[in-house]
């Protein structure tokens, strides 16, 4: 099992979601993070100009079976792509085990319906 952590543009979220849907990845979690980096936004406040040091981004966290890792990464990468600076990154981390709370199933099987297949 792999955990895929994708930090993407907020505005690309809907497209990524659709892309995941179309490869039968229907389960994932996401939350807002702030990305610090070179991409900045100029702001003003009561006459003081400043750069935000951060940009709001969406982090998608998703655990998939090993065999689905590549296609998931590819789907996200393509959907989140704009070509401009600030498209974000995807990280892959190894997961040891998964438990589905409702059934107490463990291992790959806990992800099955998460990927909607046998």
């Amino acid at each position: 099992m792999k955990k895929i952590e994708a930090i993407i543009r907020k505005t690309k979220f809907d497209e990524v979601k659709e892309a995941l849907d179309s490869i039968d990845i229907e389960w994932f979690s996401y939350y807002e993070v702030r990305g610090v980096g070179k991409a900045r936004q100029e702001r003003i406040y009561r006459g003081v100009m400043y750069d935000t040091s951060y940009i709001e981004r969406t982090l998608i966290s998703l655990i998939v079976r090993d065999k689905n890792t590549e296609k998931t990464v590819k789907a996200i990468q393509q959907a989140a792509y704009t070509g401009e600076i600030g498209d974000g990154r995807i990280f892959i981390i190894s997961v040891e085990d998964a438990i589905r709370i409702r059934t107490n199933e463990r291992g790959d099987i806990a992800l099955y319906n998460a990927e909607n297949e046998k």
């Binding site: 702001r43 003003i44 406040y45 009561r46 006459g47 003081v48 100009m49 400043y50």
Partner: protein, 410 residues
């Protein structure tokens, strides 16, 4: 029948005064929203608490002593003879004594509340209570006596219709003393002394506050005519409503244009402050300038505002989180001066010569010296007593948790 007619006239004027007073009272949440919106969420409970308490304490103390100190029989034009716990079911020429007390009370509370904005986010709550008391029973009523109480400044011919100086500048100059004495918030200036922006946490609420203030100002200015009956008063309050509204509008537009030119973007926070600057500036002359004068005064106030904010921020390095000093102090002084130019009766531009301008300048100066002076003394004592500023940790983690044990958002 004569009597019935007098009763009607008093009924009318009295009602006007009360309704105007209600509107001025409603400026309190306006101030609270502006202050809370323009500061960080970790200090919101503190700011609300302060605004509540300044109105509550001011209401009580102004009744206990402030009112008679300001409006009592004068002692040489400098102070009124106080009469504790004002109580009178009498009636004056236009309104009941109690209506008068009420109307004056809400003005006093306005002055007190301005101070808190300039010192937000780092002042101990105890210190805040103390200076609210001092302002309500001492600083405001005494200088108020000099003008509205019939004291020496009014003798000179000083014109400050509804309180650009008497109310707004006084509050702001005390705030300036306080903000200078207490020092900037942690993180406001970087190591090289350059100011950082510390954006307010909710500009929507700030904007709502400004709208409420704008609304309340129709009690503040037209209400200061103190009468509504008779053709003359009717025309006057209509006139004042129009000049007040035009100046506010012009201030907002001017400030927006300035921010658009300088920063390439029309900025909300400055625009909001611009509207307030226009309102404060027109307050001194709302009844004696014509609409054109009102638009010009408002527009200039709106133009000056961003520069005033920068001046305090960058040059003097006085950290005023909500811009109270610029909005109420600078604009108030400016508006007071402008009466000398734009008054259709005595203004320089309308052939009235230099006299009025001179008197206005004296007034502006007097109020600055009085309010800033007493303010410095007051805050110096509080500072020495070590109850002026919260500790570093409290400031960093927020006054809400440590001073009040209660966060605003849960």
């Amino acid at each position: 029948m004569e009597e019935t007619i007098t009763g009607l006239q008093i009924g009318l004027d009295n009602m006007w005064l009360l309704i105007a007073g209600f509107l001025v009272m409603f400026m309190q949440p306006g101030f609270a929203l502006v202050e809370a919106g323009f500061t960080r969420s970790k200090n919101t409970s503190n700011i609300l608490m302060k605004n509540f308490m300044d109105f509550a304490i001011g209401s009580i103390l102004y009744w206990v002593i402030g009112f008679t100190l300001m409006y009592g029989d004068t002692v040489g034009g400098f102070i009124g003879i106080p009469d504790l716990f004002f109580m009178s079911d009498g009636v004056g020429e236009n309104y009941a004594d109690y209506s008068d007390l009420f109307f004056q009370t809400v003005f006093c509370a306005t002055a007190a509340t301005i101070v808190s904005g300039a010192m937000a986010e780092r002042t101990e709550f105890k210190a805040y209570l103390i200076f609210t008391i001092v302002i309500s029973v001492f600083i405001y009523p005494i200088s108020g006596h000099w003008t509205w109480g019939g004291g020496w400044l009014s003798e000179l011919g000083f014109h400050d219709f509804a309180g650009s100086s008497i109310v707004h500048s006084v509050g702001a100059w005390v705030g300036l003393a306080g903000a200078a004495m207490i020092g900037p918030r942690i993180g406001k200036y970087n190591k090289k002394g350059k100011p950082n922006a510390i954006p307010g946490h909710n500009l929507l609420l700030g904007a709502l506050g400004v709208f409420i203030l704008w609304f309340g100002w129709f009690g503040f200015n037209p209400g200061s005519q103190l009468a509504a009956s008779g053709v003359e008063n009717a025309v006057a309050i209509g006139h004042i409503a129009v000049t007040t509204n035009l100046a506010a509008a012009a201030g907002a537009i001017a400030a927006m244009c300035v921010s658009w030119c300088r920063f390439k973007r029309p900025e909300l926070s400055l625009t909001l402050n611009g509207a307030l600057a226009g309102l404060v500036a027109i307050t001194a002359g709302a009844n004696v300038v014509d609409p054109v004068g009102a638009v010009l005064i408002g527009a200039m106030a709106g133009i000056i505002l961003p520069f005033a904010v920068e001046f305090f921020d960058r040059i003097l390095k006085v950290d005023d989180p909500v811009g109270a000093i610029s909005v109420h102090g600078v604009s108030g002084a400016f508006g007071t001066l402008m009466v000398g130019l734009f008054s259709t009766e005595k203004g320089l531009f309308y052939g009235g010569g230099w006299h009025q301008l001179g008197v206005q300048a004296i007034g502006v100066l007097v109020f600055f010296v009085w309010a800033f002076g007493t303010g410095l003394l007051l805050f110096y004592i509080l500072k020495k007593a070590k109850i002026l500023r919260v500790s570093r940790r409290v400031e960093e983690e927020g006054l809400d948790i440590y001073e009040h044990g209660e966060t605003a958002y849960n």
